[in-house]
């Protein structure tokens, strides 16, 4: 039976949520192909029993690549594990999460195997022997449909867009060890510096508050941080803010930053340039708070409030605290 390989990702010893999204989508593709799903788990020597739970999303087995060298992501080493998993399962479709890991790893594997790769897909189906992928181009100014061909086809899936499906509640997948080759690499990982584990990256957030130049200075972002904390959300910034050094680049949303699609995106004192819009227009609900009723974002947001941020935001914080009470 043909095989779809779903490459999963661990963080701090646990499966990232996006891993379940990839396995769930792999199941959809496998159903259309008449195939089975193998999930690949790459991890250090620690306990990996959590992998069995991928059965509920549709994995019929979990290949476990366990080695001290796989404790942290390393492109050359993980590449060898994925290539071994493709060989061991005869997979004809391989899906990755389009995380920093997946976006580094998938091109290496695709080039090693001469396979087509669609990156950062927002939709994926199987039609007449091939993958059809949807993805934004120019950070969302245009949507593309891509058609893949060839005996081995690959795609990476944008996190937070594909649903996690609990198809077989409580069902465990069998964990099978992956026969790993001797792992070797040219590059040597010297150190991993984690950000504060409580820091939620804008790419992972369901709710984002974004500050523009109207925030007037870095200290005022504390207000956005407080509201984000109440909502379990993250704070993003426009390019102007990042270029002024008020916020780190990893928080930048837009054509030269991250492209996000949260449930709720609240723009505070940002005009909504074409570049910024490209990075966040896929959000389910967009709110704009701006004192300038003629700012471009005030023509496009779902809910608009005209007003001074420094009067509006403290009240917004109170109201949200009351709602969440």
């Amino acid at each position: 039976m043909p095989m779809v390989l779903a490459v999963t990702e661990m963080q701090d010893g646990r499966l990232r949520k996006t891993s379940r999204e990839v396995v769930s989508q792999a199941r959809q593709i496998a159903d259309a192909m008449g195939a089975e799903v193998t999930a690949l788990m790459m991890t250090g020597p620690a306990n990996a029993e959590e992998g069995a739970s991928l059965g509920s999303c549709g994995a019929s087995q979990v290949l476990l690549a366990r080695a001290t060298l796989l404790e942290n992501y390393h492109g050359e080493l993980y590449r060898q594990a994925v290539l071994a998993a493709i060989a061991q399962t005869d997979a004809t479709v391989v899906l990755f999460p389009a995380t920093s890991m997946g976006r580094d790893l998938a091109p290496r594997v695709a080039a090693a195997r001469g396979a087509a790769l669609a990156s950062d897909c927002t939709g994926l189906t199987w039609q007449e022997g091939g993958l059809i992928a949807q993805k934004p181009l120019y950070a969302g100014k245009v949507m593309a449909e891509l058609t893949l061909t060839g005996p081995l086809q690959m795609a990476s899936l944008r996190p937070n867009l594909f649903p996690v499906r609990d198809l077989f509640p409580g069902q465990n997948a069998a964990i099978v060890p992956l026969e790993l080759p001797a792992l070797t690499a040219k590059a040597v990982l010297q150190e991993v510096r984690r950000r504060d584990a409580s820091h939620l990256d804008v790419s992972d957030a369901e709710i984002i508050l974004c500050g523009g130049r109207g925030m007037r200075g870095p200290d005022n972002f504390g207000l956005l941080e407080e509201i984000a904390a109440l909502l379990g959300g993250a704070v993003a910034a426009t390019r102007a803010v990042v270029d002024s050094g008020w916020r780190p680049h990893r928080d930048q949303v837009g054509q030269t930053g991250k492209v996000v699609s949260p449930n709720l995106y609240i723009m505070c004192g940002a005009s909504g340039s074409i570049q910024h819009w490209a990075g966040m227009s896929g959000s389910r609900c967009i709110v704009a708070i701006n004192k300038d009723p003629n700012a471009p974002i005030m023509q496009r947001a779902d809910y608009r409030l005209i007003g001074d941020l420094f009067e509006v935001l403290p009240v917004l914080k109170e109201e949200i605290a009351r709602l969440r009470g």
């Binding site: 709110v287 779902d302 809910y303 007003g307």
Partner: protein, 250 residues
Amino acid sequence: MKILVLIKQVPDTEAAIKPAADQISVAEAGVKFIINPYDEYALEEALRIKEARPGTTVKAVTLGPAHSAEALRSAAAMGVDEVLLLKTESPLADGLATARALAAALAGDSFDLILTGKESIDDGNMQVGPMVAELLGLACLTVVTRLTVAEENLTAECETDAGLALFTAPLPAVVTCQKGLNEPRYPSIRGKMAAMKMVIPEQSAAVDPGLLRITRLTPPPARAGGKLVGEGSTAVPELVKLLHTEAKVL
């Protein structure tokens, strides 16, 4: 030290992009083109290494249509020593086909370091850097925000979802550059004048049709007209109510 910088010409970030009549390419009329912003970090980093290490040469190469020569002209104005246009009219949708064409064209040359942007802002694939490395059998470090190059190896800080990963790697290697690595310079007037007169060397490049093609381009879905909730802080309770009960996002 010989450094190669792979650059791409892309539409300006200001440009409104629309599908062309064929619905598989974008309308180029009126679109201004620039060097892919992430490739500018790669160019700048190469020039800084050259300034720090006498005897270093920097070559910028692009694969693309005839008008990509202008991106190389801008690179020359910044101060690179040599440029080359690998000319093709083929669409460059398949990252692997692009990487193969680049690797084939570079096969006769050797470099100590290959720099490029972490992604191009047009298709945003993040494929070509690591694919070229794979095809050439080189180490590859991606999304790099700090780079130190020594005689035979390099140290790079790579940005990841969780934080930073610090790698060392032997040269030659491929490095893809992220914002934060440096501040790209503006070309000097003299550099611009010299580049303006330059004849951009070119050779035609064979690009395989590849295994991935664009079969349709469409404008992004339009958003339904929004709602003006009100003015000032007195409108906030109504906004929160709408987000809770109507949009159901709070």
